[in-house]
Structure formats: C-alpha cells, structure tokens
Amino acid sequence: MKSKKIVSLITTAALAFGIISGCSSSKDGSSGSDGKQVIKIATQSPLSGGSATLGEAIKLGAQMAISDQKKAFAKKGFDLQLVPYDDQADPKKGVSNAQQIGSDKSILGIIGHLNSGVTIPASEIYEKNQLAMISPAATATDVTDRGLKVVNRICARDDFQGPAGAEFAVNTLKAKKIFIIQDKTAYGSGLAEAFRDAAKKLGADIVGYEGITVGEKDFNGVVGQAASKKPDLIYFGGVYAEGGLIIKQARDKGLDIPIMGGDALDSSSTVQIAGDSVKNVYLSSVAGDVTKVEAGKKFADAYKAKFNKNVESYSSYGYDATGILLKAIMSAIDKNDGKLPTREAVSQAVRTIKDYQGIINKVGFDDKGDNKFAKVFIFKFDKAEYPAVQQKAISK
Amino acid sequence: MNILEVTGLTKKFGGLYANTNINMNIEKNSITAVIGPNGAGKTTFFNMITAVYKPTSGDILLNGKSLVGLKPHQVTKFGIARTFQNIRLFHDLTVLDNVLVGMHHHLKSSWVGALFQMPRTRHAEENAKKEAYRLLEYVGLAELLNESAGNLSYGAQRRLEIARAIAAKPKVLLLDEPAAGMNPKETKKLTDLIHDMRTKLDITIVLIEHDMKLVMEISDFIYVLDHGEEIASGKPDDIRNNPRVIEAYLGKGAVANG
C-alpha cells in the first residue's frame, strides 16, 4: 500500500517536474542581450491546421518587416523582436494567447489574426490591455463594428469584398444564374452571404446556396447538385483546402463555367490541389498582386531569398501591417523623447495613421479602424500557376 | 402455503427451447433444490424468475402476484434476491459497500438528501452501515469489511454474495450453485448457513446445485430438469431412486445395466 503511494507520488512529481522544467524559459526579457531595451511584436495566426499556409504567410511577412527595420530601432537603442503565436484558428487558444501577450509588457502590438472568429474574442483582451492590433486578413464586419479602440485592419471588409466580387460576376462576367457554396465557417458564411445579397440586388438569380463540411474531400453531392442547376457561375466562400477540391470536382462534372471565390483561395495551395482545373477560376482578394508594382517585385524576390518560399497573398499584407505598427511605434518613441512608449500611445499612434504607402496600396484608418484605402482585387487563373493574373482593382 | 408459483413457464431462444412448460409450487419457508445435468436450463429458469430474461410464455407468481413483465430491480423489490453461478460481485467496491448496495431498494436515502446532508438520510446511512456490518458478521466476513471484493478468496466471495442478497431483505432467495468449487469442509459450513437463514431469517430458499450430497441433505423438495423440461419432482428420497433422473444424469441404458 505504502509503496504504491510512493510510486504515485513519484510519478506525479516527475510529471510536474517535466512541466516545470519545460518552461524554464523565463519570460523575463526586459533587456536584450546587449543591454538594449526590447520591443516585441507578436503575430497571432494559425501556424497549424487547415489554413496554415495563410497564417504562415502573415508570420513571415511580419518577420521580413522586422528584420528590415531592426537596424533603425537599434539606432534608437531598442532591440526589435518577433514573437509568433499559433492561434490554431481556435478562439479559445487565441484568447489564451492574448492573455499571455497582454502580460508580456515588452510586446507593443499584434499582427493578426487571420480568422475573424478568433479576432473578435481575442481583441476584447487587447482592448483591456490597450494593445494595438492590426489584422491583415480578418474581414468580418463585426471585427471593427464593435468600435474597439485598438482594433484595426488593412484589408477590405466582407461587405465590401463580397459585393465587389458580385459586381464583377454579374456585370463583367455576365453571370445570370449563380450557385453559391460556402464552408459553414465564420469567414466563408460571412463572405458568401455578402456576395449573395449583392448579387441578388444586381439582378442575378441565386439557383442554390449550400454548405459543406470543412475537412472533407468528397463534395460531389453538392457539386452534382450545382451541375444539375446549370448555373453560369459558381461562387465559393471558404478556404483553399476545400475550394481546390470543389474546383476539381466541378471540372470533372463537366462544369467549365467560371468559378469564383474569396481571398482565402488566393494561395499557391489552391493551384496545387486543383491542378489544371484551376483555369477559369476567379477570385476576389483583399491583397493585390505584388508583382504588378516595382516595390512588390523587389519584395517578392527578397521574400524568396530569405525564406525560400514564394509570396502568398497575405505575405505583403503581413509585411505592411507590421510596417504600419512599427511606424506608429517609432512616432510614439519620438513623442516620448526617445523612451519606450506606453501601449496606449502606440495604439493611438496606429489609429492616427492616415496615409501609409504599403507595397501595393495605401493605408489610412478611419475612426472604426477600417482602411479607407482598402481595395478589392479581382484575379483570374489562366493557367495552373500561382499567382493568378490581376483583372481589376476596385476601390470604394 | 405456496410463496412462489410457476405455471407453464417456457423460454425460446430463436428456435431452441431452453425451458418448456415448467410448473413449480414452492412452499413458504422451505428449501427447494432444482437439479439437472449441465445445460438442462436451470440458470435460464432463475433468469426468468429474476426478470433477466422475459419468458416466452407462462406465469410466475410471488404471493399470488405476477412478476412477468417487471424489470429485474422491481423483482428484487417484490422480494426475490439471488446469487450467481459465475460470481458477480462488485469487484472494485469494498466488502461492506457490496452489502450496502444490496440494501439499495429499501434504503431511505435519496441523492438529494445526501447532497444536503439531511438528518433523515444521514441516520438511514448510519444504520445501514451498522446493519451491513452485522450481516458480514453473520456470514463471517466482518474482519474483511474494508477489503476490495475482488481480492477475496473464492469461498469468501460466495459468502459475500449471499450476504449481499440477504441485505435486500428477500422473501425468496435463489442460490445458483452456491457450493461450486468448495471443499467438503466449506460445503458443510454452507449447509449450516442455509439452514440458519431459513430458520432465523425466515427466508424461502431455492437453489441450483450439483453437489448431490448437499442437495439431498438440505432440500425439502427437489425438481429435476433435463433438456429444459421438468422430468421429475418430489422429496429427496423419491428423486434418489427415480429411473428417469438416473437416466438423465448417466445416459440411456444406465438404469437397465444396473
């Protein structure tokens, strides 16, 4: 009996010890290796899970911006660092990470999240900590409509992207009968609904509005239903993992009509999954084609050189969002006589940015935190190659 | 006076008759044995009485009230408790807890009462524990009250099953091969215990047993089953010499050959 007790005690102790030794990393890091004061920028995006490619792009974009400006900050006596957090696209994890971020006083701002569903609860925590957040990708209207002071985004809202896509589909592509598929996530549903309402207003006939399950591979049921309705366009609100397969299965069913999607299809993975079927696929993106502008080309080359990866749609937005945050921090430092600014000062400085020239487009925040200059770009895949060809840029 | 009456009891599994038209009248405060070769349908018979199986046809009356269609726990409430051929104790519970479970249906202790520690519940629990302890003393397991039931020896487990069954305050107690696997000495003690339960606790006992010595010694009346049918019944002496019984046990020709 006794020995059993001791065994159980030892096991528990060992486990506890394992845990404790595992996090012997002390968060104590107010001063850097060479005595400089540390400023940390956190990213929160899914680094694992179904939208990891997009989340990774945000992180790498931020990393790029930070290494670009490390020197400028070093001159002022600050050591600039990146702390990437993985929110796993899970609201609970996002909030828990947000609490940890809030507790690390050297973090002055957050780049993220990708998913609106995570952004909304996590931003409540940022608000409490007066931590500036700039999202490169959260498109749901509720993100900024709650009127939080610290929440900003540089991408277009769903009620801009959806209608912009609808406008293009109905007026440019002349689609009369549209079949809509969405993935039953906050992102996919929000976008698809906005698209549907706008397309209806423009006079298109919505012949079907169906949901699919994220993570599945066989969408033949829904695609078959679409085929039987004989639409002139299929719209998909969702992410590339399912989007790529829907494109492929639609083409197998002989549906050679245009298929359109949102910014989450704007990824190399779409092409990888759909293969040749990706031809004649359109997508609306809140991030433009970097290779269209000189600065963008440079960025893409530098990105490729640094990470050995091609740029994804959100790479440049991650870069820009970080750039804005760093600019705001810099101006807050200057205002504070070269000393470390408060979080509050930083979030105020972010909101006052009215004219920042990003890689592709300008950024200026309105009083809700939305980007006044946000644009929606329409792309088309002409061949099985990423990135797609930009067709049109729509501004408000 | 008959406490338990069984009329035309039949159980069919698929196309197979496990019990066919069994009729029994069991007198109050008697010891009745049900015997028969392996596979004769004795346990099936017990299972029908305790509502583990639903009879295909026939009726079971306890004090004139039908038990057919009741749930097993309701049968226990009516006054029938049992032990099992392959011992079925609550292995991870203590010996005393096993007996306390036996008192389940008459213990006045609701879970709401337990939650708020109502005096009535506490009182009932205290008394139950004391009585359970006495029962353990009665079957000779008092020293082991805090032991897990699964750790007991075979003989002790059989006795605990009996104690647990008595705790349910049954009118009729069904014992399924209580002496199986016991040595003669243990069997002797068991015999005493069964007698004692009948006289002191006023319980009617029905048992299935293969140990003929035990059966002949304690039974007031014996029923013999073979292939699911009742082939004989009577006092121990009648059964001992019944040719059909001998045939059933030893096979055809055994009687003729002597």
Binding site: K5, S8, I19, I20, G22, C23, S25, S26, K27, D28, S48, L82, V83, Y85, D86, A89, D90, P91, Q100, G102, I120, P121, E124, K184, S189 | V52, K71, H73, T76, A81, R88, L89, F90, H91, L93, T94, D97, L100, V101, G102, H105, S109, A114, T121, L135, E137, G140, L144, L145, N146, S153, A156, R159, K169, M182, K185, T187, K189, L193, L201
Partner: protein, 433 residues
Amino acid sequence: MRKLVDLFSKNKKAQLLLFIVYVAVSSLSLILAQQSVVAFLLLLFSILLLYFLKLSTKAKWIIGLVIVAVLIPFSASQGQAYESYMDVATLVGIYCAMALGLNIVVGFAGLLDLGFIAFFAVGAYTYGIFASAQASKFLHFGHFPLSGESFWIFILIGGIVAAIFGILLGIPVLRVKGDYLAIVTLGFGEIIRIIFNNLDKPVNITNGSMGIASIAPPKIFGIVIANASQFYYVALAIFLVVVYIVTRLEHSKIGRAWKAIRDNEIAGQAMGIPLVKTKLIAFAIGASFSGMMGVVFAAKQTYIDATSFTLLESTTILVMVLLGGMGSVPGVILGAAVVTILNLQVLTEVSNWLNQLNTNGVISIPDALSPAKMQRFIFGLLLILFALYRPKGLIPAKNQKYDVNKLKKSTTKSVFVEPQVSNDKKASGGSEI
C-alpha cells in the same frame, strides 16, 4: 535513507513545517519574479503536496482554500502577468469541473461518453443567446440582451438545460452498451455541434457559423466582471460546489449504485438498482456541471461559435479523467489541471522559447516540430502509456474505509438476526467457511 523517509512520512509537524516553507518560498518567488511561469506552477504544485500531507481532511481543506483563494491571486497580482495567470487558473477551474462531471459518467458509472463537450456547448449557447442581441432574432417578446445580472441565474439555468439534454441523450442511448455507447455519444456530440453551427436557418437561433458576439459580461452589485482575475473567483466558487456535490454523492447510495453497475450491471440490477434511472442521474448531473461551466465560458469569452466544441475537446476531457485516475476525485482534478496547464501555458511557452532560439540561430528546429502543434501527439502518447502501464491514473481511486469500532456500537435493534455463533476469527480469513 529509507528510514528517514519513513520517519518523515510519519512526522506531521516536520511535514507541515516543510510545506509552509515550500509555500512561502514559491509564493515569494512569484511575487519577486512575476514573469516566471515556474514560480507560478510551483505554487500551484503546493496543492498537490498538500493532498499527500498527513493532516486531517478539514485542515487540508482550510489550508487549500487559503492558498487557492488568497495566496495565489495575491502573489500573482503583484505584476503584469496577473491576468494571464488568472486566465489559465480560470480555465483550470472550468476544466476541473467538467472533468469531474465526466468522471461521474465514465469513472463512477462506467459509461464511456465521447460527446461530453456537447453539454458544455449547450450551457455556453444558453447564456450566449440570451445575453446578446441574438435572442431578439427569433423571439418577438422581451428585451434582449439580458443584463449581466442575469448571469447568476443563468449558471443554474445552464446547468438545468444541460441536464435535460443529458437525459434526452440518455434515454435512447442507454439501450446500447459499452463500445456502442462510446460511438453513439460521439455521434451525439457531433450532431449537437453541427446543429449549432447550422441553426441560422430556417430559424436563426444560434447565428450559425458566424457565432454569437458581444455577450454581456456578468454583473454583481453594479460591478462588471470582465477580467480573468474576477472570473477566477466565479470559476472557483462553482468548482468548489462541484467538488462538494461529487464527494457527497460518491459516498451515498447513488454513488454506490453507480459503481455497482459499473462493476457488474446484471448483479446491480439483481440487487434492486434501477438501471435506467441510475444511469440517467449520472448523465444529468455530469452534464449539468459542464453546462454551468459553459455559461461561465461564454461570459468570459464574450464570443462563442461551434469551433470551440469539437471532438478533440471531448477527448481532451477524457484524457484528463484517465490521466488523473478514473473514479478518483483528487486524481481527476490533478489530471484536469495538468492537461490544461500543459495545453495553454507549457506548450505555448516551450514553442515560443524554441522559436526564440530559432530566430537567434542557436538551434534549428523545423516548424513542423513546434510543441504547440504536438497536442495530439502528446495526448495520444499519454493515453497509450497510461492505459498500458498505469490504467488507474496518477492518483488511483480509493475506497472509503469504514471504522469498525463505530459500526460495532450498535444502538438500534437489527432487522436481521444477531450474529451466528459460528463467527470465529479463523473463518473470517476467507479460506474456509
């Protein structure tokens, strides 16, 4: 050495002294080094040490309460990481209560439930719908959102609604046994999740996949509870109620009945235990704990959608129960605490640390190996190892021991006869009758 250990394990005073020193040191180090997660965990660890001390149960409870309710919040409150620590501690409380609920179903009654998170979802949605503008989308009377003061009633309502769901699930499901039960409950959990994720049409009840935002935070005496440090006390209070209920029930008639049908269903029935009723009570009570904490969760997050209630969550709670020890109340609490802290604090911390090393160029670890992603791997490994080598968990379940002397002093007349004469001591050895 062994002697020393023995001596120490008997000496109450020495133990208590050492314990006090330990608590003092760990809380002091937390006060001084606020950013140190280690100090925080060491302080939490003291609760476990306390459990193993040779003290009376009452004393343990008092000391434990002081540590949990005063010392931990106070020590942590001295720095910036306060809210972060309290957030983790709140989630530990939430998961402990849920794990204790599942423990009733799995540990006591032996019914493997793989869809337990559904009840959590039910609780969360119950509060979420009425404490936000969502309810006005399908109810055309009343004024929504309800104010934060309703939160306290909703803890009860959430528990009751979840219990009703537990019974609704139980009635059909209890006709199946063992493995089948596991798979049916799994299916049930998925159905609930899919329905919550889709119920924006034909009637918009849950707002579908868009989730419910802007849920009103609780309010009491005009104070709005919005910080993790405040929620901590809410979670702690419910957790204590849950612990009280569980320990009371475990040693009552219903607790014995649960364990009896777990060990042997047929014998349990034969002893007069109504199977369906007993199992349904287990489902209902287990579910109600989950539902109550669901309400707290919704209020804490201020936003809920169906992604928080996946199968992985159900399995996580099962891991907590198994890791701690099925049927063992202290074990399950420990299991829940370990898994939650591992998940939210340790894995994230270690990932960040490795990342730091990576960016500083000290070591190079591929991103795929990041510990934050290894949740399934770690859980899977824990499940297998514990099932194989320690199926009874970290702190195995113990049976309540009865005091013989108390039982002997009988004041009432027994309904059974007085002991037989043949009750000699030898016989009780069990080898013979």
